[in-house]
Symmetry: C2
């Protein structure tokens, strides 16, 4: 393990991200209050803030500062949260708990949960546009909007979600499972890193390197998520454990077993770190984060 103080690093950035999210989300009393309450309920419920921290760490890997990418970092958390709100709906995964509290629709009703999700996705792109004021070359905003849209759309997150839902209760091939993981989870994780590098002025080679690292990191992250769903508890996870098996979801452990899944996750993390080597010491936080991804318990 690295000597890098990851706990301190994560805590410091989480505080910055939480403060920015609180500032950038419309205050509760802003009309119409219900939808703003619903948006804030799910976004400010805590969470690891992994995607925003990846935007920041991506920027830092090429010498950028957290504050210059903060609106986009928050945008990624809004997109992640909107996807959770919609995924949890009765028409989708029908989950009651998320981040240790009742899911959005359980509190605000299905209609408001749908609208709160829509509003978070919309606000995300507004925040990326706002980031123009903080970067040297505002033309890069165009690329970030396009890439985040690709990572979140049918060629990315939504596409993975579609295949995930369509595969429930089906015998799933190794290829389909990899498709789901790469699209549902890895695309947005990679997109976060790419956005950070781009906004901080990284060149094409830096974007390509971070992109490869993001792909293996994202895959490892989802494999560990699957393992935790088998082994975890509501208390630790903040969501109902064992839900993948109950819903007959395609998962890595179901297809390959727990031990092979652990090995594959570790292999992907080593691959991630070797792909980060070109950034030298500036990628120390990302390397430590990669180790954390396989070692985490929630």
């Amino acid at each position: 393990m690295s000597a890098f103080d990851l706990d301190g690093y994560l805590k410091e950035r989480r505080v910055l991200v939480d403060a920015a999210l609180d500032r950038l989300l419309p205050p509760e009393p802003t009309p119409p209050p219900t939808v703003h309450r619903a948006m804030r309920y799910s976004v400010l419920a805590g969470g690891k803030r992994l995607r925003p921290i990846l935007v920041i760490a991506g920027a830092e890997a090429v010498g950028g500062a957290a504050q210059t990418v903060m609106p986009t970092a928050c945008a990624l958390e809004l997109i992640h949260t909107y996807s959770l709100i919609h995924d949890d709906l009765p028409a989708m995964d029908n989950d009651d708990y998320r981040r240790g509290r009742l899911t959005n629709h359980k509190v605000f009703g299905d209609a408001m949960a749908i609208l709160a999700g829509d509003a978070l996705l919309t606000l995300a792109f507004r925040l990326i546009a706002e980031n123009a004021a903080l970067v040297k070359d505002p033309r890069v905003i165009r690329d970030v909007v396009a890439e985040i849209a690709d990572a979140a759309g049918t060629g990315g997150m939504v596409g993975g979600q579609v295949v995930d839902i369509e595969s429930e209760g089906q015998a799933v091939t190794v290829e389909t499972l990899e498709y789901i993981h790469i699209h549902k989870t890895a695309a947005l994780i990679r997109g976060s890193l790419r956005a950070g590098v781009r906004l901080a002025g990284g060149d094409g080679a830096a974007v390509a390197a971070i992109s490869d690292a993001g792909q293996s990191l994202g895959l490892a992250f989802q494999i560990v998520d699957d393992i935790l769903d088998v082994e975890g508890s509501l208390e630790v996870l903040g969501k109902t454990a064992g839900s993948d098996e109950r819903k007959q979801k395609a998962t890595y452990p179901a297809l390959h077993g727990i031990e092979a899944s652990r090995r594959e996750a570790r292999r992907l993390i080593e691959e991630t770190k070797s792909r980060l080597a070109v950034f030298g010491g500036r990628s120390a936080p990302l390397c430590a984060l990669a180790d954390y991804v396989v070692e985490r318990k929630s």
Copy 2:
């Protein structure tokens, strides 16, 4: 009435917009096919293409050409269509027909309809970003992304939808009804015009003038929509008539009566046209379109 050939104008632009939508939406076989089929089903079901044509007419009002704003014109149609797909869901308005055919969830199921809507909203911002390649000053893309996000979010369309849903079955004040109309409908109509003017290089004064015109046009449009819901039929409207009353929706005719509603729509259209006067002959299509908005039967 104006001597301008509005029918020819609308037909020509509708053909351009339909071709562009067909080109810009992922083809059906692109994986995962189901969601692309669902997206195309609702977007390519026809429709007036009012918002795209307003983007184009806005550009033309300051001397711009249709093709230079086409990706954004399509983006506005995607946002409009996503909002219809989500509004029609059982958890929301629970409608069975739209644009003369079964609603999206009736064909593809609730989960796919939610995801198709999410994907259309996401793709819309991707298309606005793509528009950068077609304009003189690509920095304007930042403003268009921000303004369309505002027009579509809780300060615009989603906000109007929230209050609309919360007002069902309630006694609604004149102020609340105006809030719903301005946000649910006028915001995106105004946003379409503003985007067209901005992308075509219009200055601050032009943006302000088109904005005022868009506000009154949007209000008139929604009042006429309410009137048509009382007087129309499924055959002409392509959606179930009388649904506002059945759902105890707040409408202009319910509050003010049909005759007063017609008068107010006509007054707003005169206001729209006087606000368009600064654009001279270049706003002839928009003036004719404004007349059409009150005279239309569907």
